[in-house]
């Protein structure tokens, strides 16, 4: 029972921080609100006893959202939010899209057949170990393609962002 309460609490926190991301006019505040929204999702993973995913989410989101904050500050007008600019555009279209998204998520969550509810959760050490075995044996190909996709991401980012040397 406690588990459901905490999962619900952190889920609500994630949604609330997600809303703050758009309600605030300061760029750094919206970037760090997204950071804490992702951290709340990490805490949700922990509440659902998937320890490795939760701690990984907590760690990686902290650094990556901060780096997103760099680019938001550099490229958005008035990053300090002094002018109180309204962050929301095309309000009607986005409301409709939001409602559709929520309905779709609920439908998938309720109607899809998730299989039997796992009553016994493997120990956290076993989770990390099984994840390691999974990467190294069954889905090794996916692991290597992930490596190549990260490589393409690096090359694309460098090609776009860095000025060619004359």
């Amino acid at each position: 029972m406690g588990q459901a309460v905490f999962t619900g609490f952190f889920g609500a926190a994630a949604i609330w921080f997600g809303v703050v991301v758009f309600r605030t006019s300061s760029m750094v505040r919206s970037a760090l609100a997204l950071l804490f929204s992702q951290a709340a999702i990490g805490a949700m993973f922990l509440a659902m006893e998937t320890e490795f995913l939760g701690v990984l989410q907590l760690m990686m989101m902290a650094t990556e959202m901060a780096i997103m904050a760099i680019f938001m500050v550099m490229y958005m007008m008035d990053p300090g939010g002094l002018g109180g600019m309204d962050m929301t555009h095309q309000k009607r279209a986005s409301l409709v899209a939001g409602a559709l998204g929520a309905v779709a998520a609920l439908v998938v969550a309720l109607l899809a057949g998730w299989g039997p509810v796992a009553t016994r959760v493997p120990a956290a050490t076993a989770q990390v170990h099984d994840l390691g075995i999974e990467i190294m044996e069954r889905s090794m190909l996916i692991f290597e393609t992930a490596g190549v996709t990260i490589l393409t991401a690096m090359i694309a980012a460098t090609a776009i962002a860095i000025r060619r040397r004359r």
Binding site: M74, Y75, M77, D78, G80, L82, G83, M85, D86, H89, Q90, R163
Partner: protein
């Protein structure tokens, strides 16, 4: 009810507050005006008196005023005192009138023994008066805070009453601007408006980018987004927008959505081609890394210095005070003007008067004068090492050089000075062997070859310019130290070698005494002299009527080097720019208006 502490906190004393007051008395932190370098040259060591030196007024409890508070620093000292959290106090060391600041809580003369007594008195005052039933406010009109209205996205658009920004239609936000003296430079500080033709904020900037009409129509698409933005509508009938009409996009006057391309029209590009907003950040008169009193403002593009404004002579000479000085105490008056190297300027005045009187000092006094000048050079260079170490974050050098400098200044005779030679030798060898020091300073503060410099800065650029080539120095077989490199690391090596050389000269001269002049009545009406001060050659031309000085003309090395601050600091990272400026070893007092 006399208030024991000028900056006490208003609260009824009860046990926890008394404990906090006792703790505040034990843990004193001082913010020194004009700076720790001046405090050391006056021979006082706050660390030995048990007071920590704080880098910013925020972390300090005691404002220490060292020496006479010059006119240019009165406002800065008032601002620093106002920014200190209470309980706070003022300790005046040999300072006369401190007008904008309240009466100093403790007043001492510039001697270590008296300072220690003053610090004990301060501890008692804090323990008693940190919390008092009523506390004196501190509110002076020196710092008038006018509110001006500025557009958040275009810092250069400012106006004195609320409204909306002519360029992007956003409503202006209130912002206090510094009242008082430092206001005139603010309008164009936001952007290096090298290519702005209209610099006053009201008129729109040049429109060469706006000619093309096609980009205008997509603004209408974004129109309904800006529709209910009321600020945009009452836009058109604003008085100063007469420049608006020739933007020839017809009746369309609602700015609405503003693309980044338009918004950054005409702003200068940084070195990597991005157009970012620049802010003016003062590294002003009381900055811990630079010599105390040197006022400096960087326009920062991120952490790179875009351009530099360094007002000359913020606390410079007022030579007029010397106009009617009798010849007898003219040397003392000249020595008072620059607290960083008093002996050199006193010697300069003496030699100029002797030149006017056409007498030559005898062998022994010349040797004594050489001893005094060389000791001051060694102490000044050590003071520079200490300030440079603080800027570099090399705290061992900062502490060690400061201690040896104080020992040198307090040495009574040549033997004591000689005893410091071994200490200085160890320090110099240690600095040569510091890992990553040369690599850190390489290439910083390079000056163009055409730059006309003097003193260690010139000798570090390979020029053997030294005013000490006179007769007596030849007998002491003196050779100027010359290094190649013309950058901060060459200047460091030059000054290291010069400290050792100066101490050898003092040992050879055998005597170290404050130069006294035996003035006979002057024959000729003008006299001139040149002395190699620790920062370079200073020349003085003096005109006499009877035995009263009627006119003086003084050129100092710091006013020569002050013009290179821009060349040394621009287009560099903040830390490198500060190191470049510090490597010039400027004395803010020596910078003529």
């Amino acid at each position: 009810m006399t208030i024991p502490l000028s900056g006490s906190r208003e609260a009824r004393p009860f046990p926890l507050r008394r404990l906090a007051a006792w703790a505040a008395a034990r843990d004193l932190a001082a913010f020194i005006v004009p700076g720790p370098d001046v405090a050391r040259t006056c021979g006082i060591d706050l660390d030995a008196a048990g007071v920590r030196v704080a880098q910013t007024p925020r972390h300090a409890g005691v404002l220490v005023l060292v020496g006479e508070l010059p006119r240019g620093l009165k406002k800065a000292a008032a601002v620093a005192y106002a920014q200190m959290p209470r309980p706070r106090a003022i300790l005046a060391v040999g300072a006369g009138d401190v007008s904008p600041l309240p009466e100093p809580d403790v007043w001492v003369t510039a001697s270590q023994r008296e300072l220690a007594a003053g610090v004990e008195e301060l501890r008692r005052l804090f323990a008693e008066g940190a919390f008092a039933t009523e506390a004196a406010g501190f509110d002076i009109e020196e710092i008038r805070m006018e509110t001006e209205y500025v557009c958040p996205m275009h810092p250069e658009v400012t106006s004195d009453e609320p409204g909306s920004c002519p360029k992007c239609g956003m409503d202006l936000i209130p912002r206090e601007s510094a009242g008082g003296a430092g206001h005139e430079g603010h309008d164009d500080a936001g952007h290096g408006d090298t290519d702005h033709d209209a610099s006053d904020p009201g008129v729109l900037v040049s429109h060469e980018g706006h000619g093309s009409n096609d980009e205008m129509d997509y603004q209408d698409m974004g129109h309904e987004g800006g529709g209910e933005d009321s600020g945009g509508h009452e836009h058109a009938e604003r008085g100063e927008h007469e420049g608006h009409d020739e933007m020839d996009h017809g009746g369309h006057e609602d700015m609405g959505f503003m693309s980044m391309v338009e918004m950054t029209q005409g702003t200068p590009r940084s070195s990597d081609g991005l157009q970012m907003e620049w802010t003016g950040a003062p590294f002003g008169p009381l900055f811990p890394g630079l010599p105390g009193g040197l006022s400096l403002t960087f326009t920062l593009d991120g952490d790179t210095v875009a351009n530099v404004t360094a007002p000359r002579g913020a606390l410079g000479w007022d030579l007029d005070g010397l106009e009617t000085a009798p010849a007898r105490d003219f040397p003392d008056l000249l020595a008072l003007l620059d607290p960083l190297s008093p002996t050199a300027y006193r010697l300069l005045a003496l030699q100029a008067l002797e030149d006017a009187a056409n007498t030559v000092a005898d062998e022994r006094t010349t040797l004594e004068r050489v001893g005094a000048l060389e000791r001051e050079r060694a102490a000044s260079h050590l003071g520079w090492f200490s300030g440079f170490g603080r800027l570099l974050g090399y705290s061992w050098l900062e502490a060690r050089a400061g201690q040896i400098q104080l020992a040198l200044l307090r040495a009574a005779d040549a033997e004591e000075v000689a005893r410091q030679e071994t200490e200085v030798g160890k320090l110099v060898r240690r600095v040569y062997r510091t890992p990553m020091l040369a690599r850190r300073l390489k290439g910083l503060g390079t000056l163009p070859d055409t730059a006309e410099t003097s003193g260690p800065v010139a000798r570090a650029a390979g020029l053997a310019k030294d005013a000490r080539s006179g007769g007596i120095y030849r007998t002491l077989d003196f050779e100027p130290v010359v290094r190649e490199g013309n950058d901060a690391v060459a200047r460091l090596w030059t000054r290291l070698a010069e400290v050792e050389q100066s101490l050898k000269l003092v040992r050879k001269a055998g005597a170290v005494c404050f130069p006294q002049g035996m003035l006979t009545s002057p024959l000729r009406s003008t006299g001139s002299a040149t002395v190699e001060t620790p920062r370079g050659a200073a020349t003085l031309r003096v005109k006499l009527q009877g035995d009263v000085v009627s006119a003086t003309e003084l050129t100092t090395p710091s006013s020569l080097h002050h013009q290179f601050i821009g060349a040394v600091a621009e287009e560099r990272e903040v830390a490198d720019a500060l190191l470049g400026v510090a490597s010039l070893d400027l004395s803010p007092w020596g910078v003529a208006r």
